[in-house]
Subunit: 401 residues, 2 copies
């Protein structure tokens, strides 16, 4: 087993590490990994980012199967990483465990909720790391920390033994510094693609106008070379308008439907345990509790229609491309109000895959004011392996595979 | 797609069927199946056995991945089957949808909670059916209805898109009339075995004394030939004492820890929706709500120790064998008190695999007073495929493969 790395960026949960050696042979032998502290490891307390959660839940009886499968494939687990409390936030702040440093932009937030996993990968402390993504919690920290990340098709990776935030949205994703490592992990944890056939089988490329217009001008410019590399593989992109109702409406429907589900999932614990929450998280649970059922129902109804529309659009292998986040990570120390504005602009885009259960791979292909931004490739459910192979091909030409 | 069968035994949810044709090719082409109505099928309401659940949850946005994988393997879905309300009961009674007939013993309960799936398979309405098993909900109706059933290793089959009762206990299992069909379904939905190596790789055979002593004398006698067939494959069984604390203590620890988790999972909905419940279910949720936290904590602590003990015992490939249920299905119309006595005697045995997350296959190898009883084979987590292959070998000699 590899030596435990120093935690130079505060990516890991403080205290003794949950270390487990991988099997002596396997497809991932020689790689080290970490898991967001919402995945159970037998004999360890899962904190879900909040001391009161750990205190009220005790030691995990079994290891999450996705973690077991990585160990059996030979990867060495070197510890559990920080998460935003109950995975309910996008900046990556955690007042109890400390906010991880963003290794790629130390004066900025790392992004969340899978902040520790993104930071650990970005700093080179591990080869890959598991996170979870409900509304952007892998894609955003990957974009902010300058690493590859995937949010798989909803349901593609087994979430048994992982804490839930909204089960009909939750996915198990992961981060890596190289596209090839991102793909190798997928070969272990993903089912076979749903679409059959050989080769990549993807195309045409669809440039989603709203998401590019929504991005800061600097972001769009910074991703120009990456965009050209993707077009080099899939051919010239067609510009499309995806959501005539506007990205703000996508975010609003997502917020209403998903926060109702978050409260249904976690509200009872919040009310009975009376946990202390850091800023932002507390307000989001209060809003979830107060969610108007009519708005939540409208959100759910919109979701069904939008999902059907997106699946029809993408069924033949089409790939959407757009900036993962409209901007690089916000600077540390900005107000909660400013954080909320970033959140709204960001989640109008992340809601696309979130609502429709689509796989999304983000590639670290741009820099704005010295800070990373990612380019996202999004396809129909079940095309996860094809997307990962596409990411490898795109990255190869750019020296990142 | 095969014609929809008549529902001669009341196995399906009343009303229009959720039918979906399977892919034109695949390992399960030509087979029909049904799913317990706690698995989501996109565009359909999942009732979880209770009208108020359906009313308050609406239409499912996506199909559960395990159902999708079966469709992609070519099997035709012919409908959704009845379940005990919120999967919280072992008799199979459902006062809202009607209790399915036990095709193998029409004057007896079908067993639950996966009552409709067991009845549909037993009556020949489908080739196989999905159920779920938290504390016995596949194993018991399989034993009572005279069919093969498997409760896989905890976490082995993806439960995304399935309603939860106790996530750290819940598993997705299935039923078939032939061991070979049970195994073919496993080839589609199970991960590769954890243990590597070729062949069955199982043995020695361990006869768990307490479970045989706990069974009615008629049950033990009726399973003699089946026991001999298992010994014919794995060699003479060694008698062992598994739980010096007694099966009643296993059940009590299981009950306390699991009902706390059931209330954590479903209590908020129960309190907010104020659903009407049939007899038994209502009382069980009341008891779950009132569960003493100290007892639940003791149950969780016992579970960790017991799990470690069982995994050590079974690590090398040992297989435990015992009657799935201590007796054939109870007669319809017995009192709730009598039902509770059956439940206690039964769950002392089902708690073994339930607490430790073990895979258990039940084979329909005995009859008592004309009603079926099953023989169970139980192994270490991850040996699901090996157990299914063992069931095929045992059944082949008995003409049931």
């Amino acid at each position: 087993m590899a030596a435990t790395p120093d935690d130079s960026v505060g990516a890991f949960i403080p205290g003794p590490r949950a270390e487990r050696p991988g099997a002596p042979e396997g497809a991932l032998r020689g790689l080290t990994f970490a898991v967001k502290d919402l995945f159970d490891v037998a004999g360890e307390v899962t904190t879900y980012g909040n001391p009161d959660w750990g205190r009220t839940h005790g030691v995990a009886p079994a290891t999450a199967p996705v973690v077991t499968s990585l160990l059996q494939a030979g990867a060495d687990l070197v510890g559990k990483t920080k998460t935003v409390e109950l995975a309910y936030g996008l900046t990556g702040e955690n007042v109890w465990h400390g906010t991880p440093l963003n290794p790629a932009a130390p004066d900025r937030f790392p992004g969340g909720s899978s902040c520790g996993s993104a930071a650990a990968v970005s700093a080179g402390l591990v080869d890959f790391a598991l996170g979870s993504d409900t509304g952007g919690s892998v894609r955003i920290p990957a974009s902010y920390c300058g690493v590859f990340g995937i949010r798989p098709s909803w349901g593609a990776v087994n979430l048994a033994g992982a804490c839930a935030l909204g089960p009909s949205y939750d996915t198990c994703g992961w981060f890596a510094r190289r596209a090839s490592v991102l793909a190798r992990v997928g070969e272990v944890v993903l089912p076979a693609d749903n679409c059959g056939g050989g080769g990549i089988g993807l195309g045409p490329l669809l440039k989603v106008d709203e998401a590019w217009i929504n991005a800061d001008p600097g972001t769009a410019r910074a991703l120009g070379a990456g965009m050209a590399a993707v077009e080099g593989v899939l051919g010239r992109a067609l510009a499309i308008e995806l959501a005539p109702e506007g990205l703000a409406a996508l975010y609003e429907h997502f917020r209403c439907a998903q926060s109702e589900e978050a409260w249904a999932t976690l509200g009872r614990w919040v009310e009975q345990a009376g946990p202390a929450f850091g800023p932002g998280v507390k307000e989001r649970f209060a809003a979830a509790k107060a969610m108007d059922p009519a708005k939540a129902a409208a959100g759910r109804a919109f979701r069904r229609v939008f999902t059907a529309r997106l699946r029809a659009l993408l069924a033949g292998g089409a790939v959407m491309v757009y900036p993962t986040s409209p901007a690089a990570a916000p600077k540390l120390g900005i107000s909660l109000e400013a954080q909320n504005a970033v959140r709204e602009a960001t989640m109008g885009v992340t809601a696309i895959a979130g609502l429709a259960g689509l796989p999304e791979v983000t590639l670290p292909l741009g820099r704005v004011d010295g800070a990373p931004v990612g380019l996202s490739l999004v396809a129909a459910p079940g095309r996860d392996r094809q997307l990962l192979e596409l990411a490898v091909q795109v990255s190869r030409g750019l020296g990142l595979a």
